[in-house]
């Protein structure tokens, strides 16, 4: 294709899917732990969880940059134990996506967990299930519509992530350029056609996801 490069599209999808896995696991776990937590500072922790949503992504990106940069605590650990760096790599884009969409998954899960009937969890307990099994076989399926919303939100948010990504993954064509970066880039040289095409592609990806999920649910 002459106009549009496929690399940003593939990278964006890959980043969005991998982030989705991380954000699902971390968001659901966090919501589960917080549900059973009874401590005074709870609202503060929750505010912290919501912060990546409130902060302008560039700021989130800056904080991450300081953390994972060569002199940052994470960066130092990565160098010492794995002899590697994630700054300016696709892994950094995954990190950015996971961090910015975490609040979406967390809040959606939280809402969903609060509205399920605890009697059903009790029933599972009397039937000999461990808390772990209760959670995965009763709580999660009952909370599914809410989790699904959280997943749609997280996936979409990561797909559109720009500010934090460009900060820590850089904007390296062919390597760390995601769709939003490509859009920004095209707009810079006034290629509104290309920018528009990328917008179409990203919209199509969203459409496919939602269409797929709707049908998946109907199929169940």
């Amino acid at each position: 294709m002459a106009l549009v490069e496929w690399q940003p599209v593939l990278l964006s999808l890959k980043v969005a899917f991998i982030s989705l896995v991380f954000v699902f696991l971390s968001g659901v776990s966090a919501a589960y732990l917080m549900k059973n937590l009874r401590i005074p500072g709870k609202a503060a922790i929750e505010a912290l969880f919501t912060l990546p949503l409130v902060l302008p992504p560039v700021v989130t990106g800056f904080v991450l940059l300081v953390l994972i940069g060569k002199q940052g605590p994470v960066g130092i650990l990565l160098t010492r134990y794995f002899d590697t760096q994630i700054i300016f790599t696709p892994a950094a884009a995954v990190l950015a996506g996971t961090v910015v969409s975490f609040p979406l998954m967390y809040q959606s899960t939280k809402g969903a967990l609060e509205s399920i009937d605890p009697t059903l969890e009790d029933a599972a307990r009397t039937l000999g299930s461990s808390e772990w099994r209760v959670f995965w076989t009763v709580t999660v399926p009952l909370a599914w519509p809410g989790l699904l919303s959280g997943m749609v939100l997280s996936f979409a948010r990561t797909l559109g992530e720009f500010g934090a990504t460009i900060m820590i993954a850089g904007n390296i064509p062919g390597k760390t350029q995601t769709i939003p970066l490509a859009i920004y880039f095209a707009a810079e040289s006034n290629d509104l056609t290309i920018a528009g095409l990328y917008v179409l592609i990203i919209s199509a990806a969203t459409f496919s996801l939602i269409f797929g999920l709707n049908h998946w649910k109907l199929g169940k």
Binding site: T119, L120, D122, A123, A124, R125, T126, L127, G128, S129, S130, T137, V138, P141, L142, W144
Partner: protein, 237 residues
Amino acid sequence: MLTVDITKKLSHFTLRIQFSMENKILVLFGPSGCGKTTILRSIAGLLKPDEGKIVFRNKTFFNSAPRTFLPPRHRNVAYMFQDLALFPHLDVSSNIWYGVKKTTPKSHVLYQKLLSLLKIEHLPGRTIHQLSGGEKQRVALARALMSEPEILLLDEPLSALDAETRYELQDELKKLQEIWQIPFILVTHSPEEALAMGNEVLFLQKGREVAEPPPSWHRNANGSSSVSTAANLQFFY
């Protein structure tokens, strides 16, 4: 041997109950709101009494001093809830199998037997909201029985069934208890059912055991005539 000796403050009175039972069928009988469900929930571990203890064989389920609380999943108690609590996201057969720890040829035999006994052979693939009230009740009963518990708690298990089915199931439950030799605790509002099934009846009134049967005991469950067999009562208790 199951020993229950507990106190629990409820909204309008305090439940204070104490009893021991062997591997028999014990009936809890008393007016609505007297604390029957609360007792079952305490034994199942879904509710912590304020004080007292619950001991089954050599296992302490609950003790207020020293503080002991055995989580429900380690009690091996099957509890059929008054409001059934079937899993709406699972089909009938997954509901029934849910409590089975290990699938064995024996459990498959039990499963088939329960389906035919409870007349739910045509339902396994249905989801819960496609069932009638009485069908739900039978599925809940099947789920409790399938888990092969060491104690069985039944909260008005047959209330939504027609007399014919009800009668058959009373019989079957009795036989089952004789085979399994575990304690059954049954809540019912029907004195006939209590008489037909119970080895012992515990009369409750506002959270306390009472010696005198309540007026309901002398009517049949529908209130229209007195029970012919009511005279036998004293032998049971």
